[in-house]
Amino acid sequence: MDEILFFVAGIAAVVAAAGTVFLRNPFYAVLSLVVHLLSLSLLFLLLYAPFVAVVQVMVYVGAVMVLYVFVNAYVGGGTEPQGGGAPTLRAFSYAIGLTLIATIGIAILGSGLQVIDGSGPENVRASFGSPSEIGELLLTKFLLPFEAASFLLLVAAIGAVVLARRRRGALPGEERMVAALDLLAPTGTGSMREGVGAINPTPGGFSSRITPSQGPSSPPGEHDGGGDDDGDAR
């Protein structure tokens, strides 16, 4: 029974992982990642890690996947243009992947470690991997990593809000709201949009404004020269 479940989950994990890499539609790739994560949580269950498996399903399939799907729908990326770049570079990238498989495979299987052939202790104690034991470890032995992880989450949450927040710079076709602070701020210090040269282009800067008829994921060729002043928002 163990073997059957392992092979079903393992093959599903590998196939779904390949799907995320090779599917061209970003939405399908993200859905393939969901399948991968679910089969991975099944593998965690087989390894007597019920709490990690449940957290995997809740955090990844529940929360992170919603983020991915939402941002995917928001950005609205169609199928990504493939093969447009350098084919030799793509082939080289896949060659890197194959080399990595060969290297890690040699490192694992050729290590000659006896323990790898076994599966650990035969009878797992009942408290192994239980929430109570993990919670006790988190609050005693790993208190510092626990606090560091919570602080990291706080920093990430604030950072995401700061990054994705609506800035002062107006979008094309919108009235730009003028605040009193604008008069005091030096040029180029306002928004990220201003920083990339779309609003107050600095001389010689890289201007990446796209005409509104084209989507942001349109093929290259939308750069209107470097640094000419497109003062649509002034």
Binding site: T20, Y94, G97, L98, V124, A164
Partner: protein, 99 residues
């Protein structure tokens, strides 16, 4: 199942993720492939925790999940900021750092 099988699955998934990071052009999908690599590492950690019969590895796996979640949040924030600023959401187009 012996630990070696789990390590083999982990190695294959890790290599697939690395190839995806190298080939994909959409930053969203690069994040997805990074996710694959982190999960492959998690699988190896949990397999070794089972091998040793100690729960410490599970704590480690949970910390890796926290780091992955933080990375995803910041990465998707950057993608949204790119989209809002009308910068092409394509890593081949993003050759320069400005601002």
């Amino acid at each position: 199942m012996s630990t070696g099988w789990y390590l083999a699955v982990s190695a294959i998934v890790f290599a697939i993720g690395a190839a995806g990071v190298a080939t994909r052009r959409n930053p969203l999908l690069i994040l997805v492939c990074l996710e694959l690599m982190l999960n492959a590492g998690n699988l190896a950690i949990v397999a070794f925790a089972r091998q040793h019969g100690t729960t410490e590895g599970h704590v480690f796996a949970l910390v890796v999940m926290v780091v992955a979640a933080a990375e995803v949040v910041v990465g998707l924030g950057i993608v949204v900021a790119m989209y809002r600023n009308r910068v092409p959401v394509d890593v081949d187009e993003l050759r320069e750092l400005h601002g």
